[in-house]
Symmetry: D2
């Protein structure tokens, strides 16, 4: 941490600040010159809030040196975290391929799609039972019934279930029925939800918020891990920018950065990022080469009749074709599915 004082600072202010900071058990050193005073702080600075230091009226700015996350930090755990769910793995040299419909609509639909994506090589089944929708008048998901249909599809295929949890009221049910609990982009900073899933023993798929920085995203992972659950899978799904041709802007540069900063696995959602089925193939392939640990792809047997997000879903035969290409690229990258 580096603290810069306002021009016109006094010796007394420097002393006050240094005493305040050193009382927290960290070391400081002072550089003065050209009307500027810089206070360098080393030691475990994660315990010092920027806010607290900025409250001193003679502080001009606070610059961060150390990343504020600990348990998610690769500095403190060098080897990749590998999440193993009923034998399907994500992380290290393992690519996780999660596929399925945006929302569960009927037994026939979800079972048929599950069988098909499994055959093509997916190792996880996705499907929304509770759906976060911008409008209260849109289809909100089949809810508990949807959860039951996912279980049927799992029975038929053996694929572990990935599905989104939107309310703490259903945590017990999710812990019982679901294999990976998804926290959606809109809830990435729903700290109450993060803390509560942090007290479960289920792997958590944590989507990046629409305007979350990489640091904030990792801090949300830290919320889960701080409660004891260290099985977090990060998921890049596009960020909000000024560009309107795509629903969001897929930030693939975030992948190598997250891999450097953290030991947690990070996957990519090309379907939500683009909102356009025509971009799913190129963005899936690009994602693999960016170094990600997996993909989550929307597949629907009849996109035109899909109750949500049909425009970003690909058909089962297109998915099969894509998986063939992904396998070739995975091999080049030294990964296995």
């Amino acid at each position: 941490m580096v603290i810069v004082l306002n021009t016109g600072y006094t010796k007394d202010q420097v002393s006050e600040l240094v005493n305040h900071i050193e009382s927290k058990g960290v070391k400081t050193s002072i550089t003065e010159g050209n009307s500027k005073c810089i206070v360098g702080v080393v030691g475990d600075t994660t315990i010092i809030d920027d806010d607290e230091i900025l409250s001193f009226r003679y502080v001009e700015k606070v610059l961060k040196v150390q990343e504020p996350f600990k348990k998610a930090n690769r500095l403190f755990k060098a080897e990749d975290t590998v999440i193993d769910v009923l034998g399907s793995k994500i992380g290290g040299s393992n690519l996780g391929i999660i596929a399925g419909p945006c929302s569960v609509e009927s037994e026939e639909q979800v079972v048929e799609i599950a069988k098909s994506v499994k055959e093509s090589g997916a190792n996880f089944l996705r499907g929304g039972a509770f759906k976060p929708r911008t409008s209260p008048y849109s289809f909100q998901g089949m809810e508990m019934e949807g959860l039951n249909l996912l279980k049927l599809a799992k029975q038929e295929t053996g694929l572990p279930i990935v599905t989104e949890l939107m309310s703490t009221d259903y945590i017990d049910k999710f812990v019982e029925d679901v294999d990976v609990i998804q926290i959606g982009a809109r809830n990435m900073q729903n700290f109450d939800l993060l803390k509560q899933v942090g007290r479960t023993n289920k792997p958590i798929l944590l989507k990046r918020g629409l305007s979350a920085t990489i640091e904030e995203w990792l801090m949300s992972a830290e919320y889960i891990m701080a409660e004891g659950n260290e099985s977090v899978i990060l998921c890049e799904r596009g960020i909000r920018t000024f560009e309107t041709y795509t629903r969001n802007t897929l930030d693939l540069s975030a992948i190598p950065i997250v891999k450097r900063l953290s030991h947690l696995p990070v996957i990519v959602d090309p379907s939500h990022a683009s909102g356009d089925w025509r971009l799913v193939e190129p963005m899936s392939k690009a994602a693999i080469l960016s170094g990600c640990d997996g993909l989550i792809i929307e597949v629907h047997n009849n996109p035109q009749k899909a109750l949500c997000d049909g425009q970003q879903s690909i058909k089962p035969n297109k998915f099969k074709f894509l998986m063939e290409k992904i396998r070739v690229l995975a091999e080049i990258e030294g990964k296995v599915i």
Copy 2:
């Protein structure tokens, strides 16, 4: 709603689409020419999802004509909504001035600040008991104890309490103790929370999300209203942009736009928007002239010792001075506090 078909569309596709849409009880009309086909749709189009139409593979784009919100829409309720909380009003020609500390820290602190801001002219007391913090290692608020201290401050001053709810677990407690329930920016699309506060009879202060469009913000208000609670106060608190000199970019243009689109009152939070106490005065004054219905301002008797956000809090005497200016401007704008 306007639907544009891909170049190369067929007559059969047009028929299929038109039949599908008209089955929902709306009217369509078709314009063709220059290899383009445009389908205009009129009637109650809020029941048609864009997503659903985009799922038809021959649809190029869907353009919205009608705003997707109803209960929040000024089209269906021309007069301003005025929220009256124990005699303190927001909306119409009434400015609501909400002031108090970022977080409740002690009885002495919150009571002293409450008395002071009341004397200066504030008509609501703010104070965080549950605090949304980026880091799990930062102070998370005094929680239930904080809520009790707010009640003490209300007893002393008569000021209605505005405080943030982060978890559905505390809704009953908030309904009992709190006068205005705040939904924070990070929870603006926590739809479970929105629905649940929509079933209470308390006024809701709904902050705009960091990257929420005006439309999404109004759709979140619609979630609350659709459950029966029509007392929603909107709050602009800055949006996320590339600029880093301010914590967020205060979007004052949103104020006249919201006033045109909706009958709901909209207030401004200059403290969180800028993250800098030096900007609170100019941005408060500018906000009044942009046509807002009130302000929410952080005031702390000892910002340097504040447990959070001290750098954006102003001192009681500065608040008093600011209120004098605000009164002059309010009069010019034809508003009363």
Copy 3:
């Protein structure tokens, strides 16, 4: 300037870096601890490129302490710069009100509007002769003929002319005919143009780029000033964000920040920022209260027939009415027009 080294740095690297930096005549100091090394640098660090330091592979990041602009910096010139153009002033306690049509269309049009805005109290005339348009197929302005019509309008009213220069080919002509040379948002980092207008003795109105940070904007002013021309008027005209209800997001928080960082005057363009005539009044008023030094407003006698930007132009009678309100607010702010 503060330099943070990668974890795993060596003593030799620290020495190499320190020697390199001190050879430039600045002072360094080193703080080590917890596997981090921080090098504080004080003195005239504006001569050191971040890029240069970041090229050292063992450097993790470079944090800026000092603003990189000098001539534009309030630190080196405490008093406000006042620009006086034929008696019309901008800066200090003087508000400059620049009004006129988006583009010059005919003698009748520009003279009529000029007379009208003068009567209402504007002290500068704006009008585009050369127009930057997104499409090569849109009206590009009357060019030289437009410039001549502006001169006629000036003869009739005495109002100094503000108009945009897009090509270095016309600099001599502009120096001869124009009173304030405008550099548009799209050319804010057209460094060749900046340098060339920096060698003239005309005041320059420098618009902020669509995605320019405040620092980049001031650095562009610095380009002009470094060539000898210190008469720069900054103009905030909205930045690009994800919001689509307004053409741009007017960043009024930038005003108090620029006033603190720089001695240069800064004005606001509510017309281009919003792209909507209905927002011109509230945003003009809000701008005055944010502490700006003036406004530039599009006024057209027949917006429906305007050759460009009619939707953001207000009519002369609306402008007159707005000027009455602005005069009241100016007085409150201690400003004169």
Copy 4:
């Protein structure tokens, strides 16, 4: 084009608008209902400015149906444009690999790097002679001398030269000496420069502006093409977002979109996008799989001594290693270098 009228529109207004629009030789059709009126417009709507229509005060909004670019539009030229420069090709099934130093610094430097990148498989040489720098106090390039050194490097290697033009003053010189003229991101909407290079017969490498939408970018290509020069190579180099870990956010989704909308080749600049040499390899590989037509990569023999952008330059041996991987991926994508 679709025009939506304000609620409360009158029959006379509809007639006025329709007459105005049809006078331009396009067809309209009207849909009314539920207090809304929608006017669909088909035909060559590129000649109608949105602005012009929005100026009618009873128009609520204008929605675009047709892309506003013509010469750059794939609709009017289905086959890929292939640019051939002295036998090195970009477009169709040809990958162009442009490599070299950020700025030309000495004969030894540029010749050595040119030889090395050629040996590794690059087919174009890049190198800055005129450098756009945020600060007037930073190194601005070797200018004319730099251009001469690039010519020497071309003599030695036969690689065509790609270098940036910042001033119209040097156009003749560039036409004589340079093989591909680069227009930088900051000049993407310097319309004077675009028009002037549009009158040359040299291929133009047009970088996307920091906050340019895909449509604006293609409209800037249209400026060049409208003057007669149809040899435009587009270059995605990252857009400005809120994320600060990378200098810009590389928008790879733009690649398949540009390929769909336009016949022009589009390449990717992973060096400027990330500003970090560690991201050059993963982003180069991801770019190839996104379907781009080439890469432009900064290579420096001694990044630590580079006069600019050393931190984003890779060393020759790293480039060699990267080219081996790129060749494998190119083959998978059915491309040749």
